[in-house]
């Protein structure tokens, strides 16, 4: 049986599934329940500085979008950091860590961007004997209006500065949590690294308005007729998070910087994908908020089952394995040719592949044969774009088949070249020079 014990910057946990800093980790009550359910670790809900805690709105703070059958796809919130007193949180953290020595307990912190504020809170957190700290540079609403959260995360110089203070005034491992609300996530990641961070975690939530109440003419969630942008997360945010994780994992400046992957993790498969792209573990918020803590059982069983099937004995055996295959567009092999193929036994003849291709792509799928409804790919028109695969309601009904070198591409009437050739050398490229190999 695969061993899924996790060691993230020296913080050990029985599995790589941590709960992200959010409502599921706001109190000892929740965290104890999470540990009972099997979660490997938690990042405690973000603590603020001593004094009167922040206040939350007293009306709806969450919004959502749904797919078929009202399955929640995207989630949005306008909640702030913890609204409980610092002292109570610290006491609870200390007690929980004592009760659960084998689980990871990391404390998320967000205080004003001043050296004294950080200098004041760090020893208090250290005193709890928590395993590490996470710097919340990501909260995109409310806190950022006060110069914290994303307002810090969006300025690499501030990121570097605060990380440096934390390393200076604390012996705890520092995880820097990044905001996706930037144009290039590598810049704050590099800054965090320069400041001496032990790891980065990402993503925090994305600026968003999920929906508009067309009667009230106000964004939702609506507070007394008004709304504000909130932080977007959940399954729909996963692709954005995966990309950002991969960018940091393959950036020569941050290569090998440990990453805690966050954003839409809902099943074991999501976790495996983040880890393949270089995340050392994952954090989960929305999925736990939607289905409860029990989902971790599926994640553990699924990850182990998949690792056994693939022959991966430990997490290290596959972590980062996909990073080397993330490249720039210009290095993709233009001599690789695929054609869509419809499995006629699986096809239920809905016609969606046809209309998608006919109306919006390359007119490469028939709609009838001998006067009967029939959907088949015409190899002489198919550009291999994958649109039909994505719109077909039946899994594995349409597959993309690569033409072997030497075979004739019916569309271009060219024989498939066995050699790798990319845009950098393509004759149509005005800037084409001699061949450049992709960066490893």
């Amino acid at each position: 049986m695969a061993d899924i014990r996790n060691n993230f910057v020296g913080i050990k946990s029985p599995n790589p599934f941590w709960l992200a800093s959010a409502p599921p980790t706001d109190k000892a009550y929740n965290v104890e329940r999470a540990f009972k359910a099997g979660w490997g670790g938690v990042v405690w809900k973000t603590l603020g500085e001593e004094g009167p805690p922040v206040v939350n709105v007293n009306g709806p703070r969450y919004g959502a979008i749904w797919g078929a059958d009202r399955r929640l796809l995207g989630f949005n919130n306008i909640e702030l950091i913890t609204d409980r007193s610092l002292q109570i949180n610290l006491q609870e953290i200390k007690q929980v860590k004592k009760n659960w020595p084998d689980r990871a307990v990391v404390v998320s912190i967000m205080v004003p961007c001043e050296e004294d504020a950080w200098k004041a809170i760090l020893p208090l957190v250290e005193e709890t004997e928590a395993d590490g700290i996470e710097l919340n540079f990501g909260c995109p609403h409310g806190m950022s209006e006060r110069g914290m959260g994303a307002a810090v995360g969006q300025v690499p110089e501030y990121v570097e500065m605060v990380v440096r203070w934390c390393k200076q005034y604390s012996r705890m491992p520092v995880i820097t949590k990044l905001t996706p609300n930037v144009t290039d996530v590598r810049r704050p990641a590099r800054a965090a690294k320069n400041g001496g961070t032990d790891a980065v975690s990402l993503i925090n939530t994305i600026n968003s308005i999920t929906n508009v109440d067309l009667d009230l003419m106000a964004p939702m969630p609506t507070i007394d007729g008004k709304g504000t942008h909130g932080g977007y997360c959940g399954p729909a945010a996963k692709p954005i998070a995966l990309h950002m994780v991969a960018e940091i994992a393959r950036d020569p400046a941050t290569y090998s910087l440990p990453i805690s992957g966050i954003g839409g993790v809902t099943t074991w498969r999501d976790a495996a994908e983040f880890m393949a792209l270089g995340a050392g573990n994952v954090q989960v918020c929305t999925a736990a908020m939607v289905y409860g803590f029990k989902i971790v059982e599926e994640m553990i069983s699924g990850l182990k089952g998949w690792m056994d099937e693939k022959g991966y004995a430990t997490l290290d055996d596959f972590t980062g394995k996909a990073v080397r295959n993330v490249t720039d567009w210009q290095y993709l092999n233009l001599n690789y040719v695929t054609k869509a193929k419809i499995d006629q036994d699986k096809c239920i003849k809905c016609g969606r592949c046809h209309i998608a291709c006919e109306d919006t792509s390359h007119q490469a799928i028939t709609k009838s044969k001998d006067g009967v409804r029939h959907f088949e790919v015409m190899d002489d028109e198919c550009v291999g774009c994958n649109l039909c695969v994505n719109v077909c309601p039946v899994e594995d009904c349409i597959s993309m088949i690569a033409l072997e070198p030497g075979m004739l591409d019916q569309r271009t009437k060219k024989v498939v070249d066995p050699n790798y050739a990319n845009w950098t050398t393509h004759p149509n490229n005005p800037a084409a020079k001699t061949a450049v190999e992709p960066a490893e």
Binding site: D69, R71, T267, W268, R269, Y291, G292, K294, I295, E297, E298, S301, G302, K304, G305, W306, K346, V394, E395, D396
Partner: protein, 446 residues
């Protein structure tokens, strides 16, 4: 296909040769991958799931369905087998419409429950086809336990005991293990020798020896077993059948439905099985339905089920009644057999009396009528075949507490032969499993 096989009397080969295989194939086709994924997506992953609470073995249904939906069918199978090592058989034979699926919240929402039984079959089939074993034996305890009866109760008990490191010997009176899974359940629910495959899958854990054709009460006694073993589990089902107490019930052509079904289940060529042109089945339970439906499938022209009370009193579920009706079985309520009519020792018909409830008591009305037929099957309930071998009996069954303990501190019992629970495969599994836990606790503390 035209009308055929209209030979009078009881005769074999009423159907064209290929018709048998078609008639006795899987009642519900298994789900393909696409169907399973679509169905799994319908599950809401309910909290404290009502479906799970309605399952006598308390399988974690939301978890296993979620595992299916994430492409982890083997993990789903493990979740199922943890609670119910006969999860494969239960997926086929459970009256889900009265258990998990009746409780499913989507029944409440739109009258269409998640098809839990079929999803369970999808997962367990995957594991059994790959012969994937999930459980290993604990370090040997040196304790020996005798299990009487290799039906669902005995097998579930034996597996759990073996898991805990005990050595188990299972004695069964029949030549094959499986109990009613092998000899009773309708063949279209468990075709292709599934019962024996399941026995092999269960015993593969090791530490279980099955000894066939050894009957408690004939070949050995309970005190003898207690001499040789640390504890005993009784799971011998209900071996006896109730009599009709009507004249002529021993005539040629009158038989017990369970014997007819056992014969059918053991036949390797259904075209050699004789069946009446007109068959009457007496009873209103699952056995009666199974006998009636399978008579019809064997080519009987007319099959009539006669039940002495109303539709609402029948033990057969709504689904089973509909199944019978869809196969062309006629169900008659409020009639009771008076006399089996014979000619030259052979059944020619049955005389029935109308019944009614008077002051809460079932009574004959005095009016009678006759149904001509060549075969009469009795399916009016099974009984305990032993006197209990010294353990206390209550209401015709071995009395047990909630852990399966009998009046003898070293003897446990479960399944159809014991009190508590309905006579279903899944309850037998639950009781067998729980008794194994109780036995283990007892042996640890002893």
């Amino acid at each position: 296909m035209g009308v055929q096989g209209l030979k009078d009397g009881i005769a074999a080969g009423r159907l064209a040769a290929d018709q048998y295989a078609e008639n006795f194939s899987d009642l519900h086709a298994p789900l393909g991958r696409h169907e399973a994924l679509v169905e799994a997506d319908r599950c809401y992953f309910c909290y404290d799931a009502p479906c799970m609470n309605a399952c006598p073995t308390e399988i974690d249904i939301p978890l296993f369905i979620r595992e299916i939906s994430t492409g982890n069918a083997l993990g789903a199978a493990e979740t199922i087998f943890k609670q119910n090592i006969l999860g494969g058989m239960c997926a086929r034979v459970c009256p889900t419409e009265q258990l998990c699926e009746e409780a499913c919240v989507r029944m409440e929402a739109e009258g269409k429950p998640v098809q839990i039984g079929l999803l369970q079959r999808y997962a367990t089939d995957e594991a059994m086809e790959k012969d994937k074993q999930f459980f290993t034996r604990a370090t040997p305890t040196g304790k020996r336990i005798a299990v009487v009866g290799a039906g669902p109760a005995g097998l579930a008990c034996a597996h759990r005991l073996a898991m805990h490191g005990h050595d188990v010997v299972v004695y069964d009176g029949k030549p094959k293990a499986g109990g009613l899974n092998e000899y009773g359940i309708a063949s279209y629910k468990t075709p292709d020798g599934f019962a024996q495959k399941e026995v092999d899958y269960i015993t593969a854990i090791g530490g279980i020896t099955i000894v066939n054709e050894k009957l408690l009460g004939r070949d050995f006694s309970l005190p003898e077993l207690l001499d040789g073993f640390d504890s005993v589990f009784l799971g011998m089902g209900l071996g006896g059948v109730n009599a009709l107490r009507a004249d002529g019930e021993n005539a040629d052509g009158a038989l017990n439905a369970v014997d007819f079904i056992a014969n059918l289940r053991q036949s390797d060529d259904l075209s050699t099985l004789p069946i009446g042109r007109r068959v009457v089945v007496i009873g209103g339970g699952m056995t009666a339905v199974d006998a009636a439906v399978q008579s019809k499938l064997l080519g009987a022209e007319e099959v009539t089920m006669c039940y002495r009370r109303g539709k609402e009193h029948m033990n057969a579920s709504e689904f089973e009644q509909d199944l019978a009706a869809s196969k062309g079985v006629v169900i008659r309520h409020w009639v009771a057999p008076k006399r089996v009519l014979t000619e030259a020792g052979k059944v020619t018909g049955i005389e029935l009396e109308y019944t009614a409830l008077k002051d809460g008591k079932l009574q004959g009305t005095g009016e009678t009528f006759t149904l001509p037929c060549d075969q009469v099957m009795k399916a009016i309930g099974q009984t305990l075949a032993t006197d209990g071998e010294g353990v206390e009996i209550a209401g015709g069954k071995i009395a047990i507490d909630e852990e399966g303990r009998t009046s003898n501190p070293r003897v446990w019992a479960g399944g159809d032969c014991a009190t508590g629970g309905e006579d279903l495969t899944v309850t037998a599994v639950a009781q067998g499993r729980d008794a194994a836990e109780s036995i283990t606790r007892f042996l640890q503390s002893a």
